[in-house]
Amino acid sequence: MLSEGKKAALCGAAAGVMNGLFGAGGGLVLTVLFRRFRLGEDKEIFATALGVMVPVSAAALAVLLPGQGAGELKTALPCCIGGLAGGLLGGLLFRRVPGVWLRRLMGGLILWGGLRLLL
């Protein structure tokens, strides 16, 4: 029987592979796996997964960023500003959104994204 820490490490590794290969999606995989292993309640899982993905994304970026042109960085700037504002709003809304809505919304978005990439 795996300890909670080892389960968390396995989940984190899967998320890291996802982010390293595709640049996104690691948080979704992590959330699904945390739930699969019952490592917490839904709101805690969503929030903790976000915390894990910060250093994981930094690790992926450390490999992918060097050698990139200024064009991508210029395009990233409005996305970063919008993301910051969205992150604050989402953080304020988080406790008010029922967990089951979060799961269904996440599932729908993942499915739509997957189908778009496949087709």
Binding site: K6, A8, G12, A13, A15, V17, M18, N19, G20, L21, F22, A24, G25, G27, L30, V32, R38, E44, T48, L50, G51, V52, V54, S57, A58, A59, A60, L61, A62, V63, L64, E72, T75, P78, C79, C80, G82, G83, A85, G86, G87, L88, L89, G90, G91, V100, L102, R103, R104, M106, G107, L109, I110, L111, G113, G114, R116, L117, L118, L119
Partner: protein, 135 residues
């Protein structure tokens, strides 16, 4: 691609990212499918966008006592190692193969999340509980 449109789209995906439901993935899809960027550029921008987005949300999640410290460290350490290896590997993989593989995985995950039966006890998790002490 206009500044204002990028700002508006990333505001929406930022909200979803903070809710933990995959805003970054949506941003990548928008950047490739509608803004016409290459998958490599979209991937890079998504990673850059993630830091201010997550940072803002995490301040509030921490304040509300929602972060589980004992999961953070092992998951983050293993995740960083895996991300480094996978990012290095991705440089030598066919982008179309990456795209299809990602699409298949996300489709299976999405189906599972949408149609999985609720767990016993899940119905109690929709209550808004008072914040727990930060641990």
């Amino acid at each position: 691609m206009s500044w204002l449109l990028s700002l508006a789209v990333s505001l929406g995906t930022g909200i979803l990212s903070a809710l933990g439901v995959g805003g970054g993935s949506l941003l990548v899809l928008w950047l490739t499918a509608f803004a016409g960027l290459s998958p490599e550029s979209a991937r890079l921008i998504s990673l850059l966008y993630f830091f201010p987005t997550a940072g803002a949300a995490l301040l509030l999640h921490r304040k509300h006592g929602l972060l589980k410290k004992r999961l953070l460290l092992p998951a983050a350490l293993a995740g960083c190692a895996a991300a480094l290896g996978a990012a290095l590997l991705s440089r030598s993989l066919d982008p179309l193969l990456l795209r299809r593989s990602c699409g298949l995985l996300l489709t299976l995950l999405g189906l599972r999340e949408l149609f999985a039966a609720p767990r016993k006890g899940d119905e109690t998790q929709d209550e808004i509980k008072p914040p727990k002490p930060y641990n």
